[in-house]
Each structure stands twice: as C-alpha cells, then as structure tokens.
C-alpha cells in the first residue's frame, strides 16, 4: 500500500500536470472507484428496468447501512439525495415554518443555505436572525456565546450551523451547538456538507435533529452524493423537495426514486468508504489536517501575510490565508490567469473586508503543491506572471 503524498497521486483521477490545492469543492476520486463506477453505470444503462425496479430497491438499503454505520447512525434515518441543496430544501420547506418562526444562522453559512432562508422569509414571512461574525469573533467560545445569547433573548425555532464552514473554513463546535439547541428547545440542523471522511462523525452521540453531508467532497465518492440524516420524530414530516411518484409512500421511497436519474451512483458510496477504511479514517484526517496547516503556513510565509485564525484546532483540512492585495476584482482576475497559465486553481473569497485564499489538503497532496501555488499566484498578483 502506498504512502500518502505524491506517490498516491497516480492512483487518483486527476488531470495530468494539474496541481490540486482545492480537493474540497467537489472532491477527487481514486481510479479504482471510477472503474467501479463506470461498471455500475454501464450495468444500469444496459438494463435500466432491472436496475431501477429490482436492483436498487435491494441495494439501496445496503448502501444506506454502510453509510449509516460510517456515521454511527440508524440506517432507517439515513437517505441519499444528490447534494446538500436538495437535503436542505427538503428539511426547511417541510417544517411548516410560518411568520411565528425564526431561523438562526451565521453570516458564514454557505450561500445555498442563506438563499433557502431568504426564500422562506420572502415566501412564508419566516423571521430570520443572522449572527454577524467578524475576524475577531472566530473563536469557539465567542461563536457559542453569540448563539446562546440569541437563543436566550429571542424565540428561535430552528438553528443551522456548519460542521466545517466553507468561506472562511473553520471547524465549528457542533457538539456544544446541539446541546444549546436542546437546552433552548430549538431544532438543530447541521450542514455537514464538509463532513464524512474529514471529521469523525458520531450521529448517535451528536444527536442533532437534522444532519446532511456530501460523500463526494471527502469520502472519495464521485460528484455528487449527499446523505441526509433525520431524527426519528421527523420521519413522517419530511418530504423530498421534489414531489414525484412516491410522494406520500414514506420518506424512504421518496428518496429512493424521485424522478428519472442515474440510479447507479449511490453504489459508489460503498467504494468510497471502503477506500477510506483501507487507510483508516483517523490516519487520513491526521495527514490532511497537518498538511493543510503546514501548507497554509508556508503560503502565508511566501506571501508575507497571515492565517485568518491562528488556532490549528479550529481547522479541518482547509485553512484560510490572507491574500497580499486589497482589490478583490483584481484578485479574481489573477485567479483566472493563474489557473490558465500555471495550472493551479486557488479558492478566493471575501470576508470581513479582506480577500482570503482557502487551501485544502487530501492524501495525494504534498507540501510542494502549496509552495507552487503560493509562488505562482504571487507572480500573477505582482504582474510578473
């Protein structure tokens, strides 16, 4: 078995010559997972009646069991959707929220989540309460303090928190969050888009009302599969956001089939999880987190800037570095040029009045990748590229 790092890159489906420092947005998969995926896909296309009507009803519970076990949850509370958007839409739109309800969320929530909340506000007059975090607030205790303050002083119906946020990327205190929700009788939703495969998740212990996670970002499943976890009491309340032939036949059936699509992709969930287990989840997390930290610190050194947050414990395998420039549109142009010219894509975003880069690490990355990315981007920024 190969070591993590450069040697492993050959085992992955990654464009030749491409330096990847953004594993996290979509995920990259091992060649063995792709091979299996193509085999399953071909089987589906060869006889879709057989696949959709007989094979999937048998296989789907098995896949759900594998994923549920991986997250330590009951399989009959776990369902597959295509992505976090579908999961989030399915939850929020079926809670019967009205103008008497309030949704609590952070300013660093993912744009999809914020848009769903905005939609509920515009269409159903649901109240919203956003906690506005600045750079100095990015500490576990402060975040929890703000959340508790709001739950104490306002009547919050439902609160949503990232497991690991996207922009900026930080590991958030989900355990304490769920406890606060229980304390103040608030429905808890955890956006674990970044979750399976990069953080140890124990749903039985965590016990949120709702949790969803992508299997393609960090669990080596092809893009895109999402797992939605629902507490038992909501099983009869939540419907798939897409109403289709199994509407009313139970949440299990509603998520098993909700319109013609590729029924074979969920089989890859097992392949991805097996791949993780072949190395060990803890080992993968350790390597990725340490490399993301080391890599980002190297970037900060080369750019002569700093990390957004200095505490390693608040990071998963994604770390945020200050960009040495103040003009965001110019920075975005440089992103494009750097991509085209130097074949490396750097995630860039604005937060609290500054521009930041987010670096991710997976098991095929090595320190050189971050050195290369940092140097080339700096060249472009300085117009020396």
């Amino acid at each position: 078995m190969k070591n993590f790092g450069k040697e492993l890159k050959d085992d992955f489906v990654i464009e030749s010559g491409y330096t990847c420092v953004n594993h996290s947005s979509f995920g990259y998969i091992p060649k063995c997972v792709l091979q299996s995926r193509i085999d399953n896909y071909r089987k589906f296309l060869e006889n879709p009646d057989s696949f959709a009507r007989y094979i999937i009803p048998k296989q789907s519970p098995i896949v759900r069991k594998t994923a549920a076990e991986f997250l330590n949850a009951n399989f009959n509370q776990c369902f597959f959707s295509n992505n976090s958007a579908e999961s989030m839409n399915s939850i929020i739109k079926n809670l019967g929220l009205t103008d008497k309800d309030t949704i609590l969320y952070l300013n660093i929530a993912y744009p999809m989540v914020k848009n769903v909340i905005k939609y509920m506000n515009t269409h159903f007059n649901v109240n919203t309460c956003m906690i506005d975090l600045k750079v100095e607030d990015l500490k576990k205790e402060i975040i929890l303090q703000y959340i508790e303050e709001n739950m104490k002083t306002k009547k919050i119906t439902v609160a949503i928190l990232d497991n690991i946020s996207s922009f900026p990327s930080l590991k958030l205190p989900i355990k304490e969050f769920v406890e606060l929700c229980k304390k103040y009788d608030v429905i808890s939703i955890i956006d674990g888009a970044h979750g399976a495969g990069i953080r140890e998740i124990n749903l039985k212990e965590l016990d949120p009302d709702f949790f969803f996670t992508n299997l393609n970002k960090w669990a080596f499943c092809p893009c895109s599969v999402n797992l939605l976890y629902v507490k038992e009491k909501y099983l009869n309340l939540i419907h798939n956001n897409t109403i289709s032939v199994f509407y009313g036949a139970g949440i299990e059936k509603e998520f098993e089939y909700y319109g013609t699509r590729d029924a074979s992709i969920i089989l890859s969930v097992i392949d991805g999880i097996n791949y993780i287990n072949s190395f060990g989840l803890k080992q993968i997390i350790e390597y990725c987190e340490n490399l993301a930290w080391e890599g980002s610190n190297l970037v900060a050194k080369i750019w002569q800037t700093e990390l957004l947050v200095q505490d390693q414990s608040m990071h998963s395998a994604m770390v945020n570095v200050l960009v040495p420039h103040k003009d965001h549109p110019y920075i975005m142009d440089c992103q494009k040029i750097c991509f085209e010219k130097y074949n490396v894509f750097i995630v860039l975003y604005e937060f609290d009045g500054r521009s930041w880069a987010r670096f991710s690490a997976s098991i095929y990355n090595c320190l050189e990748d971050y050195e290369y990315a940092a140097k080339q981007f700096l060249n472009v920024l300085k117009n020396e590229g």
Binding site: V13, S50, A52, C223, N241
Partner: protein, 385 residues
C-alpha cells in the same frame, strides 16, 4: 451506418441476451453516446474546478442552443433540468397558486404530476379538476370536447396534459388543447416527458406556456437530461424547485447550478441529438411507430385479446394491449417471473378495470422481439413456464 432492426442492436448498450420491448421508460443509449459520456465524465472528474467554472458555462449555452434548435424554440426560453419531476415542480410551485385557482388535468396524467397537484391542494388549498378518461373517451374529439366543457363551465387557471401519455400510452391532441387554453385564457403546461425524439415537437408553432421533455426516453441520451421550455413572460417568475447558490440570478443560472451534481451529464444531449440527425428524426419515428403497431398487434393476436385503441393515428411508438388475465397482482407477479426466467420486461398496468401491457419500439427492435415477449409472458400467465 447500420440499418434499423437487428443490425443496429449491436450499436446499443443493451444487456446481452435481454429482449427489450420497453425502450420508453428509461431509454437505451447508443455505444457512441456512452463512450462520449465517459469521456465527458472523466474530463469533469479530472478537474472539476476547470470543468465547472470555465468549460461548463460555455457548454450549457451550446447544449441549450442544440435543444432549442431541435425543438424549434428560443434558446433563452429553454432550461436544463434533470427530469420531468424537477421541471414540473419548478413550474407549479412558483406560479403563486392559491385557493382561488384550479388545476385541470386528465385521469391519465402521470403519477408524479398527479402527486404534485395533490401536494398543491393539501398545502395551498389549490383546487383541482380531474377529467376522467375511460376507454370510451379515448378518441381525439371526445378528449377535446371533455376538455372544452371544463374550460367553458369552470374557472380554470391551469391545464396540464401529456404530449404522449404513459399509462395508457396515447398521443394527445396538444395543438388543439393549447388552442383551447388560449381561447379560455388558461395557462397550458405540456408534459412531454415522452416527446423529444419520438414526436416532431415544434414549440414555436405549438406555443404553449410551458413544456418539458426528457431527452433520455427517446433522444438517445442517458438518464437525467430534461429540457424545460417556458414563455418569456414567466422567466422572472419561475424558480428552480431546489433553492441553491444561484437563487435570484435568473432561471437559466438557477437550473445550471441547482446544487453540486455531475455537470458533464447534460453534454450528452448534444451527442443524442447528433445520433438522431445521423438517421433522421422522421425516419426514426416512422420505423418505431410502425413497428410498435405491428408488434402490439402481433401480441394481441398471440394473447387472443385486443388493443386498447384501434386507431393507429393515436399512437406513438408505444401501444397498449389487453392482458388475458383479470388479477392485477397476478399479472405483476408474472411480470417479475417473466423477467427473471425469460429476460424480457413487459410494462404492466391497470386501466379502466382491465390489465394492459404497453409495448414500445425503438430502432434496434424487430418483430421477433414482440413475438418472444408475447409467448413468454403467456407461458408464465398460464403457469406453463
């Protein structure tokens, strides 16, 4: 170039030894389309950042233009969706319907459509008006007069009707139905799930308010490709049913990015359309319709039963034959046994108190397929297998 029938079968991804008489539910793809699909897919997986941010925005324009040209519509009014469920949900749930509105539909409407209408009734008190089509009504003029009667005597807001119904399968007089809608100021929605590739759809000529069609059923694309057409006046009103990051940026953007997914899939629309152009849409339709008719008549002869409707002009490449048995459950059990034992899958459904089978035909079918299907199913029915 292979001729239709047995010769062209080897150009298709069909399980070895499987006798396919149900092309219509999911579609079967040509090998060349599959190969191109794998190429597109691999490209996407190898560098999803490049594919999604640089290539895909260009591709979607090309894909929508190809679809628009194929359907004779304006490309600005053609949107990419995954399936009919997504398309229909997106339309119906964004029209601002209330208890003051009524949706008109036929009893033969697809279960997904009926369920979505039911959802609107249960959740928003939207009224529904269902036209019962029994066997004796299955005639163009009768359908039109039943429809007009409702429009005349009831205050109907929206009418939804099939281009080609699923169970039972018949061509509906959509041109006239749309004209009637205009006459009575009713919004028209055409469910053309069965449409592209098996009907000559001329949207500019038809001029409905909405129309959606699958490209995987008859346009030789893999599952998960659908086009939603809408009149200009609705472009600012309709949102994709899944709220995601592009919410509010225009329907085209919302459809393009309704959550993380396999962004390479829709490229196959171009490949499927090219395949059709190679052989000629009219030639494909003629072969498929004639064979479905001939095949179904043969089945009826072998079963000593009859066709549901004797008028060939009311049929596309799907024809309904009466099953010589009264017990629906038994017919379904035999469907499964027949599939397992004889490797042929027959669509079986109940309609107007009788059991029917729907036979479909595509380019790779020959009359012997229907003879085989008929004889095998009969054997199982009689317990002689």
């Amino acid at each position: 170039m292979n001729t239709f029938g047995q010769n062209i079968k080897e150009d298709f991804i069909i399980e070895n030894g499987f006798v396919c008489v149900n092309h219509s539910s999911f579609g079967f793809v040509p090998k060349e389309v599959f190969q191109q699909r794998i190429q597109h897919y691999t490209k996407f997986l190898q560098n999803p950042d490049r594919f999604t941010k640089i290539d895909y925005p260009k591709y979607t324009i090309e894909i929508r233009k190809t679809a628009a040209e194929f359907l004779n519509a304006d490309f600005n009014q053609c949107m990419l969706t995954s399936n009919s469920a997504e398309a229909f949900n997106s339309i119906i749930r964004n029209l601002g319907l209330t208890e003051n509105d009524t949706i008109l539909y036929f009893s033969t409407a697809y279960p997904m459509v009926q369920n979505t209408i039911q959802f609107m009734t249960s959740n928003y008190n939207v009224k529904q008006n269902r036209i019962e089509l029994k066997r004796q009504h299955l005639e163009k003029q009768k359908i039109l007069s039943l429809f007009e009667e409702q429009l005349k005597t009831q205050k109907i807001t929206i009418a939804v009707f099939d281009n080609i119904s699923a169970q039972p399968s018949l061509i509906m007089p959509i041109k006239e139905l749309i004209s009637l809608c205009k006459k009575y100021n009713v919004i028209s929605i055409v469910d053309a799930a069965h449409g592209a590739g098996i009907t000559v759809l001329d949207i500019k000529d038809l001029d409905p308010d909405f129309l959606f069609t699958n490209f995987n059923k008859w346009a030789f694309c893999p599952s998960g490709i659908n086009i939603l057409y809408l009149k200009e006046q609705y472009l600012n009103k309709i949102h994709h049913n899944t709220i995601s990051v592009q919410y509010g940026n225009g329907l085209a953007k919302e459809c393009e990015f309704s959550g993380t997914k396999d962004f390479s899939l829709s490229l196959s629309l171009i490949d499927g359309v090219n395949f059709i152009k190679k052989y000629g849409l009219n030639q494909i339709i003629k072969y498929s319709e004639d064979l479905a008719w001939e095949g179904a008549n043969l089945v009826a002869q072998i079963w000593q039963t009859e066709l549901l409707v004797n008028d060939k002009s009311m049929h596309s490449a799907m024809v309904n034959v009466k099953i010589p048995h009264q017990d629906q459950n038994y017919c379904r059990e035999c469907q499964k046994k027949c599939f397992e034992k004889y490797n042929v899958f027959l669509v079986v459904f109940k309609y107007d108190d009788l059991n029917w089978s729907r036979l479909s035909a595509s380019l790779y079918n020959t009359i012997s397929d229907y003879e085989y299907a008929a004889r095998c199913y009969l054997k199982v029915l009689k317990g002689e297998e």
